[in-house]
Symmetry: D2
Subunit: 294 residues, 4 copies
């Protein structure tokens, strides 16, 4: 019998709070809102290791992921964050010396969207689920779900500068009322993570809807010429800083999830690939719903 090297005392007895595997890829089956989708998911999975133990038995991480993902094919799993929660709990059962576990699951995700002009398309997004479990608090798990959405922002500031003729050689005085003015616009990536407390559900599709409503405009795969013109005009009629996007997402989340308790965490990040610079503009707020409600 070989030495159980991992269970030996380490040379330097410090506790480690995150030991595990990153980049484990698995196809996961999730039954969302009535239909089943297969998500090619990437897992990062960790437990803590006490000061008295040299190493974590990492093959158990893989066994747990494998078993829970396999089971998801047979029984309906309602969401990626539920799956992550089950993995988090099972990790603590399998690693007797661990007191906490942390699971991240990320997947490409397609959602059917209908443009304002009636055209349907499957648009790509990114799903993120996180779950932690805590042995001290009777295996209590903590789940969060998130989305990453690509859309468009048009800058309100450049538009006002243009309106005032500050930047103009041909003075734009006498602009007909209601004519949208030029500005820089660009691709934007906005991400939201929201806690899903026990007994509550948060639908990722709703978070995607909330983000897209908060941008200058959602974007679409296929735009015929008049639709392209309408989207450009709509975006210019709703100019947004990254700051505006983050705040509007927060306001919509407060309204939509009025039932979620005060301690629930929310994190919103918005980044615009500025068309007029080589760098990006960025805004972020990470806080509790309670703090926002004050």
């Amino acid at each position: 019998m070989a030495r159980d090297v991992q269970s030996e005392r380490p040379a330097n007895s410090f506790r480690l709070e995150k030991v595990g595997v990153r980049g484990v890829m698995k196809p996961v089956q999730v039954s969302r809102t009535g239909h089943t989708v297969t998500l090619p998911t990437t897992f990062d999975v960790f437990v803590d290791v006490p000061a008295s133990q040299r190493g974590s038995h990492l093959s158990r991480h893989l066994e747990v992921i494998g078993e829970i993902v396999d089971a998801s094919v047979r029984s309906n799993v309602p969401s990626l964050e539920d799956l992550a929660g089950t993995i988090a709990t099972t990790l603590l059962k399998r690693h007797e010396t661990a007191t906490q576990s942390e699971v991240w699951a990320r997947a490409d995700y397609f959602l059917e969207r209908t443009s304002p002009w009636g055209r349907k398309s499957l648009e790509p997004y990114r799903l993120v689920a996180k779950a932690t479990a805590d042995r001290g608090r009777s295996m209590q798990t903590h789940r969060a779900v998130g989305v990453e959405v690509v859309g468009m922002t048009a800058c309100p500031c450049a538009m006002e500068t243009i309106r005032d003729g500050l930047g103009s050689t041909a003075a734009p005085r006498g602009v007909p009322d209601g004519l949208p003015l030029i500005t820089h616009n660009q691709r934007n990536r906005t991400t939201v993570m929201l806690d899903v407390p026990e007994g509550h559900e948060v639908e990722a599709d709703d978070l995607i809807e909330i983000v897209e409503s908060s941008l200058s405009s959602p974007t679409y795969e296929l735009l015929k010429r008049p639709e392209e013109g309408k989207l450009v005009e709509a975006a210019h009629r709703k100019p947004r800083f990254v700051e505006d996007v983050v705040r509007e997402v927060l306001a919509r989340i407060l309204k939509r999830y009025s039932d979620l308790p005060d301690p629930a965490l929310v994190s919103v990040k918005s980044e615009s690939d500025e068309s007029i610079h080589k760098h990006n503009a960025y805004a972020e707020r990470t806080t509790t719903l309670g703090e926002l409600r004050r």
Copy 2:
């Protein structure tokens, strides 16, 4: 003495045309246009291996890179493509069984630019140099230099759609003459590679200038409000498809490098991170100057 495993006959005697190392990082000193810059450069370096030889002695690749880069600190090296050319030739001397070599060098590069409004800034670009050497043709080397430039494109098509009111709810009739119309604009990356035949020089700074002149607008690190307005207006007065950008770069190269011989290769690629889509628009032309001159 250990077996020289690399020099043994391989199990499957096929010639390999590229064997070497990728991702070797070295600080390189180059004396460009009168001043010396240090470029943290990433090298990919290859030779061919004949069917009769199991492996390349890869440590020689590193010795050659090291020696040539070290020498560049003592003697003035005029360009990254000259350095790559010397590495390519030296590789053939050191690998007796090789008949051809290929060297790529890539580096971040800063160039002082002056905006149309007189503000100076150091803008970041990417330099690319390539060199090959061929034993069969008495060690003849072949050098090319390239740049990657980030700038801005504004779409001509959406602008015409807007002009025609096709996409508009508030009809933009009665637009004052000369008022630029809204459109989508976005970050664009355009790359150029151009052969530098023996006895000729191509200055990377000129290629950067050519690309920036061919975009809707160059971009700048710092824009105070009126400058931002002026840049946005300038870009809207010069709308460009990726197709336009590639063709304008080609035309400017033909004009600027009328002395370069017909067989010299040129490659231009332009990619716009479309603000109205989640995917990118792309155009490319790779050909000889002679073909373009016909």
Copy 3:
């Protein structure tokens, strides 16, 4: 009616050989070897644009991708390269002025593998399909299929150095016969692309099998302790340079696809993330089967 800007004459009348879109994401349904899999696929799709035409109508690219992918859900599509081929042909029908088209499709892919010790797991790979169509040759399409495989290489050279005691303080003389010696080993990524001429089929799963057989060892998601020992030993009993890997893949392809015609192209690239260096080792051969058969 708005001006059809794309159809205007360009300012600089050069032909462009690749104009299109990159990074279009679509879930694709493929019926491989009896079962149906959904592949979240990323498309890059191009046509040429004649010198007389300013721009390509890019929305047609998206219409074509959308229609063909939608049709794949209803009718069984046998492979990603068949789907790419249909897109390539349809692009030429829709873009009347184009003479050639090029389609790339890339997707994460999971394949059930059984380790030498009987454990089954779904391992992740990357599928690549390419197709081109040529109006001049009565719309003839050209298809290729490829795989990217992650596995393990153990270095033959360091092992011989160790055997000879060159690098050793404790001389390894008197090593029992058959005991595998230490060496450096590491993660390796090997990619293969192979033409699939009209009337032939190439199964991506077979290419994965060929690559994994050519490495020092395939790798597995879950290895319990004795299995880990056996895999390490197996890899050390089959040390491989990147050069060895490329040549063994080529030899296996020649044997397996003896029916493929001489002009069929094959490209094999192998890159090892050297554990003893910060850079990678790399080998490549791109040629025709005919050339290899000589």
Copy 4:
């Protein structure tokens, strides 16, 4: 005069704790340990924005970065974290409504290393500096410096399994004493961030030395055959889990920086690109020196 859009009241009055720019590239001059190096640095720079203000004046971020970096060329700046600290303080002066600022600076960095066999080479690393400033505590800044180091780990567990013959077909009984046994080894990336409290200095070069001493072996650009053998043997004589690496780095930091106060934060992360798996092994500890000293 155009409206100062950023200073208007926002539609949704939430405070934002991080608003700024990401990916600003600048060449920075730092005088480290007697010699001056130019670091091509990427900056991410943020301030908070109060609930009453719609947007941050982002051009001020760029002005501040530009001024401080320009000044660094004239006056000697001892470290990237000092530069970051000055930027953090100046941001608060320039953004009157902000109460806190955060600055990240990242750069490729080369350090001359001497292998155990006397060969010198410039090895590439990654420097990270962070600084925050807090208006509430009289502009107090908080600095941290970090490094990212690539090296090698050899697995202790597989080695013991091999020793015990568990995984072997040819039983390795009768292994001569002191002969190192085979195991899997691989590329590893370990990062350290350490607070640099006011009045203290932490030399990034020392952190690199600490990490390299804690791995199974540092890696080198150029290894001639006997040196390669010796490095492989050395790594096998010092097998290390990622857990071991993190703990040894922590122990060495405690010893080397016994003068740093208890509240100083340290974060150590180690990730091995497992050669026997397609996923990575990972360990992390983020805590205060005081916590480690208990």
